[in-house]
């Protein structure tokens, strides 16, 4: 316990008497198929009911934020995408946008469209991977196998567009690295149609599945009151009926020119959260089509900054944010006017979702549902440990 008066911050419940023989400690993770990424849940169970949980992170610490303080701005560019495997593009975009904002660098129109496309494609890939995880965590691994394949189809497209499958390293300060390859639109459309078929099937086998319904409905309910208290963002919030989406509220890149609604549900339990994400997956497909339609045929895609080997960014600080699949993702960048960033703080949505919120929601759930609950919050430990 930290020194000082902590009476204002009481523990959420009275201490459990572990000596009583009534409770048992179980570790879920750090190596466990039921946790997302590398983190551990220290569960205290009574029978098969979870009565207390402590989350443990630290298994995945790579020190990115510190590394970047010793790198020039351009050298941070290959690092940021590695913060998050399922959705590296958000990191790339936010780092580039923050740098551009402080440096006063405008990016060309075409680059904005290409960035929007890349971001939306990565949202699609991330959602598809998440569906597999959600189904798998409830024992329906078949869906997981389908989705991994389909994610790879999208990665094929990324490979074509950016030159990389997982870490795209595409959006660098000043724009993007290359234009669309020839015939990209056609192949993209093919994959989108394939994905639509997949989503139809998933709708049948997952969302119209009595087992899924029985386990997911009413699991881990987030009330609208909890949203601000816990700092909850993204689909977790929208499922609770709150219309919050950065793409709509504070549009960045080209989102203001795209036609879409914020998808909400009435009650944020695991089932509705899944449903919101599922519908956002469909929305992503639609948005990609809209982007491809609006994409300028020609134009510059890169506005060269001063020599990147000694690029000094004027002193200042900024916070930029974007809507990732898991919710608001933010970069806080501080420059002291030198060639190196003074501080880059990465604020991923999982920080609250996987620690504070999960510890709260997990109480009184069944051990078997812990994995499903965790995935239904769509947590991603890499962004907790930058």
């Amino acid at each position: 316990m930290l020194p000082g008066d902590r009476s204002k911050y009481p523990r959420k419940q009275e201490e459990l008497n572990l000596e009583s023989g009534k409770y048992q400690k179980i570790w879920q993770g750090p190596q466990h198929p039921g946790v997302t990424g590398n983190m551990a849940l220290e569960l205290t169970v009574c029978g098969d009911e979870v009565v207390d949980c402590k989350t443990h992170v630290g298994y995945l610490h790579r020190g990115f934020e510190k590394l970047m303080e010793r790198r020039k701005y351009i050298q941070c560019f290959p690092i940021v995408c590695r913060i998050c495997v399922p959705e590296p593009d958000t990191n790339e975009y936010l780092f580039a946008a923050a740098t551009e904002e402080l440096a006063g660098l405008e990016i060309p129109e075409k680059a904005k469209w290409l960035r929007t496309l890349s971001l939306e494609m990565s949202r699609l890939a991330s959602f598809i991977m998440w569906i597999g995880g959600q189904a798998g965590s409830f024992g329906m691994g078949t869906v997981g196998q389908w989705t991994m394949v389909h994610r790879d189809y999208i990665l094929d497209l990324f490979e074509e567009l950016t030159g990389g499958r997982v870490y795209h390293m595409y959006m660098l300060p000043g724009g993007v690295r290359d234009d669309l390859p020839d015939g990209f639109g056609g192949r993209l459309e093919e994959i989108l149609q394939k994905t639509e078929k997949l989503l139809d099937d998933i709708n049948k086998v997952l969302f119209n599945n009595s087992v899924f319904k029985k386990r997911a409905v009413n699991l881990g309910i987030i009330t609208p009151e909890m949203v601000d208290k816990y700092g909850i963002v993204g689909p977790n919030t929208r499922a609770a009926g709150l219309k919050r989406d950065i793409r709509k509220d504070e549009p960045y890149l080209k989102y203001s020119e795209l036609d879409f609604d914020v998808i909400t549900a009435s009650k944020s339990d695991a089932y509705n959260r899944a449903l919101v994400r599922f519908r956002e997956t469909w929305q992503s497909i639609d948005l990609i089509r809209q982007i491809m339609k609006a994409m300028p045929k020609s134009g510059e895609f890169y506005n060269r900054p001063p020599n990147v080997l000694h690029w000094k960014i004027p002193a200042g600080e900024t916070y930029v944010k974007a809507e990732a699949t898991r919710g608001e993702y933010g970069y806080y960048l501080v420059s002291d006017g030198s060639e190196y960033p003074r501080r880059i703080n990465v604020r991923g949505p999982s920080y609250t979702h996987a620690i504070a919120l999960l510890e709260k929601l997990i109480i009184n759930t069944n051990i078997a549902d812990v994995a499903g609950l965790m995935v239904s919050l769509h947590t991603c430990p890499p962004e907790i440990e930058r």
Partner: protein
């Protein structure tokens, strides 16, 4: 929950027979996408070993190493990137920054070996299956991280320039200079190429950081005539510049000029004053106040020697004063620069020709060391009939007369024979005197030894260049001069050698002019040295032979500048002066 929710999941069987996505390696191959970032390729011929890839690599995966078969030379460090695949993250920033465009990535992504050491390899050296692959990540079109375009230097338009001897180049503003300085990748290949080994990347960095006093210090470390070199240097550094490999080289010369133009004379003097340390009683005589002599004088002076320069002319600077027209090098800038050196305590005796006003023997006996930097003062003869007719001048004499402010009547049409800088300077000077000018050169235009920029500027000033012309005879007709010449054909001399011009017999041509200026080169003149000393010095092809310390066969005598080196330019002369100063210092200290 309905019955549908129980039946619906059985749809999973539908996909039981769908085609697998996995590739059956090794039966099937899946090539990477066209712009996939796979293994490195490097075009060893194109690569200059500048190390920009090493500089940008955030993982320190690239190391520049010497490679067998690749020699260090001007514009090539002789090193090549060695890539460590234990560290590489395939971001390809090395490709984006590569100034030459030699580095690229193939789309090959599988490489299996049981020896972990092979994954540290020099791309392009060891043959790899992907070397020949066309697809992969390349720097395309305009996309690159280096900045290929130079900040344009403002100049007087030719029409205005021709009206006077006003300086043509206007110089960079602070903003322009900083922008130009920003383009530098700090590879330092220029440093090795510069005869004086000036610390170019560091003074360019000082410009970026607006620390011009630091920049001045850096300039004077290796070059006491920065304002001169900032204007008329032959700038070998720019030929070697990495950015110049696929773009316009950094305007190193103009940046140097910017530094010295911006810092006040008072401030520069203060910096120089601090450099003089110690005084010793040893005396050094320097013959000739040209760039080499002045450079030696400066470095010897700051080392504490008692330096006396003997100069035959009334003004210092040698060829810079008398040979370079004022539109390229204004007299007041040159004077200010030289005064800064003289005022450090250098004794300079003008109008004192060694061998006439003062004997060489006297200098030899009264000084601890002598530095000869007399330059090339004797123009080569055309060896033609009619060469000594009135109206036929030599380029050096002509430029000297102009520099002395004498009136020279050239008439309405001048023919200049030669293709070097003297020829161009003479031609452009004649244009300013109002004459029509034609340059006659025996080789092709691309063979002209004159600076390319000068040739272009001369053309803008309507100087007509006639290549492959071999003069045969000069005659006088109606008070004008008639040059009879023959057309030359170029005889191939094999690789790396300029083709040789040979006159096509049978046909001859004529050109009429009022004045003919011959500027086909010049040689050294050594009659001022007494024969007994001359015998010890050692000559070869009319040049003085010296060792690396610029010491001649007579240990007391050092020599430098055009009479020693083959590059025959100001910067080499300055470098010679510096090296000779070091040599003299070493020699005189060994006496102690």
């Amino acid at each position: 929950m309905s019955i549908k929710d129980i039946l619906s999941p059985f749809y999973v069987w539908k996909r039981a027979f769908s085609k697998a996505f996995t590739t059956k390696k090794p039966l099937e191959e899946r090539p990477g996408a066209r712009r996939y970032r796979g293994f490195h390729k490097n075009d060893m011929e194109k690569c200059i070993g500048c190390g920009s890839c090493e500089e940008i690599c955030q993982n320190a995966a690239i190391d520049l190493v010497p490679v067998e078969g690749i020699e260090t030379k001007d514009g090539d460090s002789g090193l090549r990137p060695k890539i460590d695949y234990g560290r590489c993250c395939w971001c390809a920033l090395c490709v984006d920054i590569c100034p030459t465009g030699s580095l690229s990535l193939s789309n090959e992504y599988i490489w299996i070996d049981n020896d972990a050491d092979v994954f540290r390899f020099v791309a392009g050296k060891e043959e790899k299956p992907w070397d020949k692959m066309e697809a992969g990540y390349k720097r395309k079109g305009d996309y690159r991280l280096t900045i290929p375009d130079r900040i344009e230097m403002e100049m007087l338009p030719p029409e205005t320039g021709l009206k006077s001897f006003r300086e043509m180049v206007k110089g960079y503003s602070r903003e322009q200079a900083q922008k130009e300085a920003d383009r530098c990748v700090e590879c330092g290949i220029c440093v090795a190429t510069c005869p004086a080994h000036m610390d170019i990347p560091r003074y360019i960095k000082a410009i970026r950081e607006d620390d011009l006093e630091q920049a001045v210090e850096l300039l004077y470390k290796t070059n006491p005539l920065p304002a001169t070199c900032g204007r008329i240097c032959t700038r070998k550094c720019e030929t070697a510049c990495a950015i110049g490999a696929d773009g316009e080289p950094i305007a190193i010369r103009w940046l140097k000029r910017y530094i010295i133009d911006q810092v006040e004379d008072k401030q520069v003097r203060k910096i120089l004053q601090q450099k003089v340390f110690g005084e010793n009683k040893k005396k050094v005589a320097i013959i000739g106040a040209g760039p080499s002599g002045l450079s030696a004088a400066y470095y010897l002076r700051i080392m504490g020697y008692q330096v006396t320069i003997y100069e035959a002319h009334a003004k210092p600077g040698g060829e810079i004063w008398y040979g370079v027209p004022a539109y390229r090098m204004p007299f007041e800038d040159l004077q200010a620069e030289i005064d800064r050196i003289i005022d450090l305590g250098v004794d300079i005796k003008f109008n004192t020709e060694v061998g006439v006003e003062v004997s060489f023997k006297k200098l030899y006996d009264e000084n601890n060391a002598i530095f000869i930097a007399t330059g090339l003062t004797e123009p080569y003869n055309l060896r033609l009939e009619g060469e000594f007719l009135s109206g036929v001048l030599t380029g050096l004499d002509f430029l000297e007369k102009i520099a002395k402010g004498k009136e020279v009547e050239v008439g309405e049409k001048v023919l200049v024979i030669g293709g070097g800088n003297v020829a161009i300077d003479a031609a452009r000077t004649c244009r300013r005197l109002g004459a029509e000018v034609e340059i006659l050169y025996r080789r092709r235009e691309e063979d002209m030894p004159a600076d390319d920029e000068e040739i272009q500027e001369a053309k803008l000033e309507d100087v007509n260049i006639k290549p492959q012309v071999i003069p045969v005879k000069i005659e006088k007709t109606d008070g004008k001069l008639k040059l009879i010449w023959g057309k030359a054909e170029m005889i191939d001399q094999g690789q790396d050698r300029r083709p040789k011009p040979k006159i096509i017999p049978g046909k001859s041509y004529e050109t009429i002019g009022t004045t003919i200026i011959s500027a086909i080169g010049q040689k050294g003149e050594y009659d001022f040295i007494p024969p007994e000393i001359k015998d010890n010095i050692g000559f070869k092809w009319k040049r003085i032979v010296t060792d690396k310390k610029h010491q001649t066969g007579d240990e007391k005598i050092f020599a430098g500048g055009d009479i020693v080196n083959y590059t025959r330019d100001a910067i080499s002369a300055i470098a010679d002066g510096h090296n000779a100063a070091k040599g003299i210092d070493e020699y005189l200290r060994s006496d102690d």
